[in-house]
Symmetry: C2
Subunit: 420 residues, 2 copies
């Protein structure tokens, strides 16, 4: 690839060359932050408008059941969304729950894991994971009198001994894009009778995951990144069918009751994954997510992965050719790379801001404790359903210009914003 | 009130005679189920459309900060919604959190309460409360090794002794509409050093509540009933400022961290109520709720209460006159009545279904354990912002006809639906 037309030819042969039209991508924007918030699928606005006007406005309480038009059916909405997510992560729909935030989902699964191993007192988390995983684990440890143990991200199994109830890892690192060998790590921890939980926030919708075949125990994933569910959309939880008879989540609300409308005094968990529900489902958010997931209906995760690797390969190759001094922290081996590419830079914050000013949206992630430092990671996500090879090419051109012109040193970038 | 024009005259003098136009109320429907799902405020559809198209679609990740138009600002959205709810429940905005489901909110506050009274081992709940309150309490008791004690709803303080950490009550009963004397019960339990938590699901937006003045400890409330936030909209939580330095919720996610974007390894709670947040806020649902709450901006809760009592008084009076044998279970004293009226009937399910067929939407609530029984409570909520006195009049006319014609015995109503 030596000029933009070479990149355009790659788009023509991509298995996902036709899916960009399913999304709104703003004019003049190269959007490489779909790993933080996925783009808007075109049909969501209309669907949400219909849910608000017809189901809420006209149907009112009747929409919990089916309306004469077939719309409504809110009671089963969460199950319908679970059925759309399941094939994307190698799961059976009956093992997937959708409805809580990622943090609440992690809390439920971590508590359930601790209770499945009452003779073991340690939760293991990697220190470089997305922080909420560690924060929630520390909260669970505090609550239940357990020990939180940090592992070496390069060798998490070294921290797993006979005291470990749960090893909780993020499949794809949010800063570097490095990916674990999920089946191998799972098998290694299970050989020591620890349970294994995978955070799929940066995998689901971008990287093939085969939860059932991997033999993993628990998984949680976000739906507003590569699954494009919208800001703050509900997370999904997977519980291995091996564990469901025994596993118990702690937030025992009415929607997880065996018979919610009996309004009985005593809690009786619903069978299987249904008991993972707590309160009334977030209907508007689930409806947006349900519609957003339609973009995956005719795709395989193998196609998605092929397109993703082609994009990240091209980005890395162009950076190597044009900016050989750049400190790329993302693994070059396919089997260790998610769907993003990151580099370290002493002025990473300014680099990202200068790129945003040029219409190339990536984001900045801090390393270390200094909130005001501009040094850190510049991170670029390649959501293969709407990012094209020409976008990759354009992004590299802009990055070259930003670095050559030292645009990152603009005084306007000396104070960090809350986000990006 | 002897004919419909008398009812119409009451609408003319009502302090809320002008607010019905702020809502979508379907043609031909008398909606008396706003205590289950509030009607759609007119402006929500447009606002949600703007959030989807402009903030998510065009703004993308930039909408966490302010967009050039002033839209976006998702980082502060939950705080803005809290500021709208606070005056409706007599609270300071700094003491209100919004973002979790009611069940998750109850879990957080009950765990926090148990930790504030480590020397006490009992949680007290009423057996007739909305079931999720009891279910969540039983889950917390299981998790922390506490005892769950059921109190007599008629005398909850009799169950509060020196072992009680928390007395958790629903302010207005979801079946009968009976209302507790919130300040008096609070004072009684606190005299025994128990903490007191109020479930305001059936109060907020319909009944004046003065949390700060009451001296209560904790409160949780739903926003999709009288606050009209939409199906499954996020709940609110209130924590007394007296307790905030010490109270700790257990789901320690990144949005409750003192500095979320530092992405530090160790959890450090944000100051005050901000630490009650867990995961990424549900932006679509919070935006709908934010807009829905605008309908209260120029109203006082005293006006709302005056209109509510006028409606329930009229309903009770007409039932007494026309159907004197009906077993009304809602208290007749104003100070013990919420914003709904319920009666028991051996064919309550059929009565409600026959009314729905006539366009009068109330709902059915079971008593006892028999899922298939039609016997129970017929429940009618009077959301005073959009229910009129003429609706009350029409509802009673239809009810008379349903009972006189034994329409409740229609074989189509012999099998109960999941909802209503």
């Amino acid at each position: 690839v030596t000029d933009r037309s070479d990149a355009a030819r790659l788009d023509e042969v991509s298995p996902l060359g036709h899916t960009r039209e399913r999304f709104v991508v703003p004019e003049g924007v190269v959007y490489l932050d779909g790993n933080s918030l996925g783009a808007l699928p075109v049909r969501v606005a209309e669907r949400l408008g219909q849910v608000v006007a017809e189901e809420w406005g006209e149907g009112l309480i009747r929409s919990w059941n089916a309306l004469p038009s077939g719309a409504g059916r809110w009671m089963e909405l969460s199950r319908r969304v679970a059925a759309r997510i399941a094939p994307l992560v190698g799961a059976d729909a009956d093992d997937v729950h959708v409805g809580d935030s990622t943090s609440v989902s992690l809390f439920k699964t971590m508590v359930a894991a601790a209770r499945l191993r009452p003779d073991r007192r340690v939760l293991v988390v990697e220190p470089s994971t997305f922080p909420t995983d560690g924060y929630v684990a520390s909260g669970v440890a505090d609550l239940l009198g357990l020990e939180l143990r940090w592992c070496d991200p390069a060798d998490p199994l070294a921290a797993v001994d006979d005291d470990v109830a749960l090893l909780s890892l993020t499949h794809v690192d949010f800063r570097t894009g490095a990916m674990y060998d999920l089946p191998a790590v799972t098998a290694g921890a299970q050989a020591r009778r620890a349970l294994v939980q995978w955070d799929l926030c940066h995998s689901a919708g971008a990287v093939p995951v085969d939860l059932a075949a991997s033999g993993a125990d628990l998984a949680v994933g976000c739906t507003y990144k590569y699954l494009n569910g919208g800001p703050g959309s509900p997370a999904f939880t997977w519980v291995s069918p091996r564990l469901q008879a025994e596993a118990r989540q702690p937030i025992t609300g009415w929607m997880g009751h065996a018979s919610p409308f009996a309004m009985a005094r005593d809690y009786e968990p619903a069978a299987g994954i249904r008991h993972w529900a707590s309160g009334t489902p977030p209907v508007l958010a689930l409806s947006a997510l349900d519609c957003a997931l339609e973009v995956f209906a005719d795709l395989t995760m193998a196609q998605v992965r092929q397109a993703s690797l082609s994009l990240t390969d091209l980005f890395i190759r162009l950076l190597d050719e044009r900016l050989p001094d750049l400190d790329i922290v993302t693994p070059r081996e396919h089997e260790r790379r998610g769907s993003q590419v990151s580099f370290r830079h002493a002025q990473a914050y300014g680099v990202v801001q200068a790129l945003i000013a040029r219409g190339v949206i990536g984001d900045f992630r801090q390393i270390g404790d200094d909130d005001s430092s501009s040094s850190g990671i510049a991170r670029f996500g390649f959501a293969p359903l709407y990012v094209r090879h020409v976008d990759v090419y354009d992004a590299v051109e802009h990055l070259e210009a930003v670095l050559a012109g030292e645009e990152y040193a603009d005084p306007a970038y000396s104070t960090r914003n809350a986000v990006t």
